[in-house]
């Protein structure tokens, strides 16, 4: 549904998105996870044919970006970062306006359908400005769905909502999951990505890692061993020369050793450390949560190396 190759966008000299490769199949909920300023909104804007990439190419909903932009806009729905509703117009008039800009066959019926579905029907005649934040967000999501888009882009759908409203919106997104609808969910909320998405891409200007939440976690779980030393033993991390050790980090008197299979390799690791003169106090496994992984990546440390 979304395929991008080397998608890049600069603003003057600032590189906002750098060589993004993406392949999101139909029906997937893809989480695009990154901190503020990572370039998530810029990516959505490029993929929804709102701004042009500086270089690179993409095929979105079967059409090539830059060649069939209007066709792409017809087939995708965008929930922008701010709900962006006409405050003075009623909830219904807001939706009707947008429904009529798309080729929606029966705008009134379609608007009613979504207002009822999102439990906004009773408030349909109230100006959008008088609705609660959560309702406005639901209204904005309804707006993005009116023309039954093949791809739904959601830019931080729960940012700025109170926990209760955020939960409502999250449940709503969960319910929107369908084999015919691809959802591209931008968020800086890890928990949200973990809960809602089939796959997650960790992104900061560049794609840092992509995978199913479980796979991303597994990639890290149990793959690092922490060796607590009784004395600092300076230089020992450089001296550690085992083939299966991919990385050694020091934290005070601890060594954090990355290896592929701790169950099999820990004994050899400890033996070698002792040979090198280390006084091992004890050894344990480093529990890495997705959150640690995320923070690692976001701080620019390359967790995979």
């Amino acid at each position: 549904m979304i395929q991008a190759q080397g998608l890049t966008r600069r603003f003057g000299t600032r590189l906002a998105v750098d060589g993004l490769d993406l392949d999101v199949p139909r029906g997937e909920v893809f989480g695009f996870l990154g901190p503020n300023g990572a370039g998530k909104t810029t990516t959505i804007r490029m993929l929804a044919a709102l701004i042009a990439p500086t270089s690179g190419s993409a095929i979105v909903a079967g059409h090539r970006l830059g060649e069939a932009n209007r066709e792409i806009r017809r087939r995708v729905g965008v929930l922008t970062e701010t709900p962006g509703l006409y405050r003075r117009l009623s909830a219904r008039d807001n939706l009707l306006f947008f429904a009529r800009l798309y080729p929606v066959r029966e705008p009134e019926r379609q608007v009613e359908r979504y207002l009822r579905l999102f439990e906004l029907w009773d408030r349909r005649d109230e100006p959008a400005g008088s609705l609660s934040k959560g309702m406005r967000q639901k209204l904005a999501i309804a707006r993005a769905l009116l023309h039954e888009p093949e791809i739904l882009f959601l830019d931080e759908p729960t940012a700025g909502l109170d926990p209760e409203a955020a939960k409502t919106v999250r449940d709503l997104i969960e319910a929107l999951r369908s084999k015919d609808r691809t959802i591209f969910l931008c968020t800086h909320n890890l928990d949200e990505a973990d809960r809602l998405c089939d796959r997650i891409g960790l992104f900061r200007t560049r794609m840092l890692a992509v995978g199913a939440p479980a796979a991303l976690k597994k990639e890290m779980y149990g793959r690092r061993t922490v060796v607590h030393l009784a004395s600092p033993s300076p230089g020992i991390e450089q001296a550690l020369d085992l083939p299966f050790v991919t990385k050694v980090e020091r934290l005070d008197d601890r060594l954090i050793v990355s290896l592929a299979d701790p169950d099999a390799e820990n004994p050899a690791l400890v033996r070698r450390l002792v040979e090198l003169g280390a006084e091992v106090r004890f050894v344990n496994e480093l529990r890495v949560s997705l959150e640690d992984l995320y923070l690692d990546l976001m701080e620019g440390r390359d967790a995979k190396a």
Partner: protein, 238 residues
Amino acid sequence: MRRLRVLLFKEWRESLRNKMVVFGVVLLPLFLVGISVYMITLGEGIGDPTASIVMFNTSLMYFLLLPTIIPLAIAVYSIVGEKEQTTLEPLLATPISDLELFLGKALASVIPAVVVNWLSFGLFLAATRIVVGAVPLQALTAPWLASIFGLSPLLALFSVGVTMLVSSRASDARAAYQFSSFAILPGLVPLIVYSSKQTLVDLRLVVAEGAVLVVLCAVILYLAIRVFRREQILTRWK
């Protein structure tokens, strides 16, 4: 062009719910018509036919100013309003074309400006007839009619173009308003000529101003169309 119509009706629906816009589009013209009629009754009171005609002529000036003033409020709010409500991006995410967006925004202001101006003019003539008894037809000369019917759409277009350009750069309505007010200058030209030469506006002047306005409008609209592109709106606008 179906989308253009959809956008126009949205603009008007929104404008009707905005007090500032309603003030500029309805109350201000009514106020000026009221003042005009009042001045004409004053002129009548003097009992000198030339005084009546001077008063009448001065009143006619309002109908060259109104088409530049009326669209200010609509145009400012239709652009700055979208920015303040952050509705531009969802709007740009629809299949609406850049040109449709531009035309929708421009016509949303130009059409009411011209229509309301002409309606005010009709109201003014009717009120003069009722209050004074007769419209001094000898004062309602061809140059005047040519100005009011020929120049006013151009004046409105110029004013709207300037306001749209200014509004794309401004982040609040008040600032946009202030910077856009100089768009009323072309409407003042006949007034200045009239009061300095002490003559009635003549047809050559109307044609000359019309020609200048056509050129000005072409330049302004060319610039505005360039500014009203998705890429520009999302990445350059303030």
